[in-house]
Subunit: 323 residues, 2 copies
Amino acid sequence: MNIDEIRAAATRLQGHVRRTPLLSSPFLDEVAGKRVFLKPECLQHTGSFKYRGALNAISKLRNAQRTKGIIAYSSGNHAQGIALAASQANAPSVIVMPSDAPRQKIDNTRALGAEVVLFDRETGDRDKIGAEIASDRGLTLIKPFDNADVIAGQGTIGLEIAEQAREAGVDAASVLVPCGGGGLTSGVALALEANAPGFRVHPVEPEGFDDVARSLVSGRIEQNTRRSGSICDAIITPSPGDLPFPILQKLCGPGLVVSEDDCLRAMAHAFNALKVVIEPGGAVALAAALSQADKVDGSCIIAIASGGNVDAPIFADALNRFA
Amino acid sequence: MNIDEIRAAATRLQGHVRRTPLLSSPFLDEVAGKRVFLKPECLQHTGSFKYRGALNAISKLRNAQRTKGIIAYSSGNHAQGIALAASQANAPSVIVMPSDAPRQKIDNTRALGAEVVLFDRETGDRDKIGAEIASDRGLTLIKPFDNADVIAGQGTIGLEIAEQAREAGVDAASVLVPCGGGGLTSGVALALEANAPGFRVHPVEPEGFDDVARSLVSGRIEQNTRRSGSICDAIITPSPGDLPFPILQKLCGPGLVVSEDDCLRAMAHAFNALKVVIEPGGAVALAAALSQADKVDGSCIIAIASGGNVDAPIFADALNRFA
């Protein structure tokens, strides 16, 4: 993995991917006690950054692979990214999703043209289910983060942040990134290492699912004990990916950890101050910016909001409790 | 008023005003039965397009006027635009607001540094209150829509729409604009007349406050009978402004009218499909796009979302009922 792959992805994605703006509000600066910027990838096509990596990976497949079709597993954001990018390439897609995924994510993945196969997160093995279907039908598996083309696509966000921060007069910042398997975090870190060397990337995770933060401390890939039971479904992965982890070790950290209430409060702040909708897992970085700004260096924080695919009752709950 | 003033405003605002993206979703296209784009000015600084006109008008004042200060009346969006632009110019500001304005709008206007003077919308006369304070303190009044510099600032949205639509391959569209006094609608219409002549602008208003639609039919300025009692507070004005009306007559119409439930439903659709927060008055144009697409020409609609300053209970209500 290197910066050239990310730059090539940016060229490939141009005109297809939305260049999300860099948002800010004096009200958020006041809460954090530092200057805060938000990169709202919730405004990306399909409501999350995952469309970038999915489109880059699908664009690089051979025609024969696209014709046979694509398979992916995902709690819903990679799912929608793959479903949309596949349908745009006239490729059939099958998505293996946990049955407790947010309703909106399951519905939208189907509406974007994918065949959805549900499994039980506690008892089923998505790798086994996916491998069987892939083998039966000759489908190409696109993993959500252990895939260099996916990481390169996500890294294009880092190129945009570097440019937009420069336009805003920012030349040093702590960049906080919602982190599941580490595809987004590692791609952004590679892009910023090349294009904004004054920036330091910190992965952010929810309490109880801090495998990346612990792995960065111990120096080896650590596992989460639980596999479900968080409103931050988008970033609940068992462990950091094999491909992202060495990049995270080299360029990122330490990791930050926030509570679910911190996430709901950040969602309410984003509603009030920025008028964007963020899902709980996508709000961990803003949550850390607003509640733990003193734990990172410098006077400026750039937080990525990785997605906005939240069911209405959870969003209404965030507003009722914290807006 | 002409296009040169709008182009000069764009130059003046560059680097200060956010270039909001042009959003779309296959899910909205499906609801409308046409291609739908949203220009989300809710993502603008202060959460509404009003910052554009306010900044342009304040930039053109003489230093002596800025030093003495600015006065404005507004239910909350022009208020916040003036408050922020004034504070950035180190000018004191006084905003006369109705006491039933949304709490968030009153709070934010104060937080942005303005002195807020409340009046009762049914019994008080904001013009009289404003004129007295202005005269006592030597303040300069910046009207919300009967001001050429304000209209020119709002018109910069039309320049952006023309460019962004061209990038999206759209060369003919019906452009739906939330309309109160007509400042935004007339500015956008002037910009599109010059830069996107295949586009037709339609003002959109809530039921019971359709003064502009009726004025366009009768050919003279009509009044609303009610002055309050709508969740669409942002666009509840007594009648179209003297300066915008001839422009609306020449370039716009017919006007469209939507119900409050149409607005709440559009807010829920924007939450689900685009991840942006729109206030009821800012959602009238999207509401018309989703429910009355057959009433306008062509296969493509561009709707402006003029603001996102909505109190949490109203937004939660929209989600509970329609998401």
